[in-house]
Symmetry: C2
Subunit: 257 residues, 2 copies
DNA sequence: GACTTGCATTCTGGATCCAGTATCCGAAAT
DNA sequence: ATTTCGGATACTGGATCCAGAATGCAAGTC
């Protein structure tokens, strides 16, 4: 019972989400199974909680609360937070703890600009060296990605698909950069998808077809278009959130450093 | 691997030769001045030690040794190592500690491929929105970068120059990615520069001229060529090191002044 | 009644301490 | 003599403990 009523007055004021505590506890339960080190478990749990919206942007991350929620000491939590800072998901305010980093509209635009640049190039290079067995894997993964609907599995399936599409094994650094960018917008992506109309459900399959046919420019065009559609959705959502959420943010007397 | 470390140079025997120990101790001295947190100090020290070659690739990083060398506890060292892992400079081997990550020839080639892609694009965008005062700063920084010769200042000056050239302030994420890539090859860059013939000493100035004239494609060509030259130098060095140093350098420590 | 200042609470960052495990060396057996 | 098994060593990862700093509250004063 150490978590007082502060949750009502401090951070969780915008009542859209049920309190992060219980949701995060469930996450911790799912992840409870064997991990080699609790540090990476804490990292995975917090990371997933941020990505699926359990911990919304701006949320203050108290080390002790997270620690007892996950069931470990504060130390692995700190390790996890440091990693997440390098990932660009959380932000440290000197001596005042960490908060979930939020993305400005400009930053989101920048991310998609970079993703288009990097991923179209990755696709070109990947297609210049495409074998049969990679193609088969790609088709299987694409189908799975199109089928998976719910949160965690959906993200994982998509990730595997793109890892294969961009030949992550042979271009690890390129893939690392792309993953970094995808991570930054991951939390907003999911939110967008919930309100999406499903028009682009089968984009993976289409893309795979073009790749299988060896038609580079059409495939690149498809990919670019897909990214642009997602970008527009995310930007729209962010802009709405910025104008409407501005009042709430002001209500919280959060001073910036 | 690195049998020499365990044989005695690592654990005890202080003041043997000009080992990483003493060099790192000097670094720690330079950095001793006021830091808000010792964690970031440890990070800076170890990072710099890796980049300037004091801690060569493959070197085993014992937490306790680093801790007492820097003069802090093991905990901030761990924090620093975690951050450096995210930066791609060190590598953790489960339960067996961390080592300085080395770059394969393929990975180096990939890095430069990505740098050319990202940095030429960054230059194009930056030049489409170039003001007078940015140009002035750029010229000043470029001159400084061409003048600075010795290690630390050289790297810093170059970084500032490119930060201005690519308009890091207005495109923070793009700059972040570029920095990440530069970091990965930073350690090898320096080694290459020591044997460089100085032909490209004034590359910053030339580039600034083209940028000032507003000639986009010539400027991009200059930048690309510069990167290609550096890439070839680094790759050449890495290949030589891989073939000749493979057997000898593993067990025999590399003497560095 | 409002503002300022001082004190108490709380939370982060750091240090020390403890347990688990991987490596290394030696001894014994084949 | 070589190989394998067991114990000792030592290092990493985690937990608990401690100090410093920032925030919030309250009391006193203008």
């Amino acid at each position: 019972m150490t978590a007082q009523e502060r949750s009502g007055g401090d951070v969780a004021a915008p009542g859209t989400t049920a309190d992060p505590e219980s949701a995060l506890a469930r996450l911790a339960g799912r992840h409870a199974a064997g991990y080699r080190s609790v540090g990476v478990m804490a990292y995975d749990i917090i990371r997933e909680a941020i990505l699926d919206g359990t911990l919304p942007p701006g949320h203050k991350l108290r080390q002790e609360t997270l620690a007892e929620l996950i069931g470990v000491s504060r130390l692995p939590v700190r390790s996890a937070l440091i990693q997440l800072e390098s990932d660009g998901l959380v932000e440290f305010h000197d001596r005042r703890g960490a908060v979930v980093k939020s993305l400005s509209v400009d930053q989101a635009r920048e991310v998609y600009q970079l993703r288009i640049l990097l991923e179209t190039e990755a696709l070109r290079q990947s297609m210049s060296d495409m074998g049969d067995e990679r193609l088969a894997r790609l088709r299987r993964l694409g189908r799975t990605a199109d089928e998976e609907q719910e949160g965690a599995g959906f993200v994982d399936a998509r990730t595997e698909f793109y890892a294969e599409l961009y030949d992550a094994a042979r271009r690890p650094i390129q893939w690392e950069l792309i993953e970094e960018l995808r991570l930054k917008v991951g939390r907003y992506m999911l939110g967008w998808r919930l309100v999406g109309d499903g028009t682009h459900q089968h984009s993976h399959d289409e893309l795979t077809d073009a790749v299988a046919a060896g038609e580079v420019e059409p495939a690149v065009a498809l990919l670019r278009h897909h990214l642009e559609v997602v970008r527009d959705g995310v930007l729209e959502m962010l802009e709405a959130e910025a104008s409407e959420g501005g009042a709430a943010a002001t209500r919280r007397r959060r001073a910036r450093s």
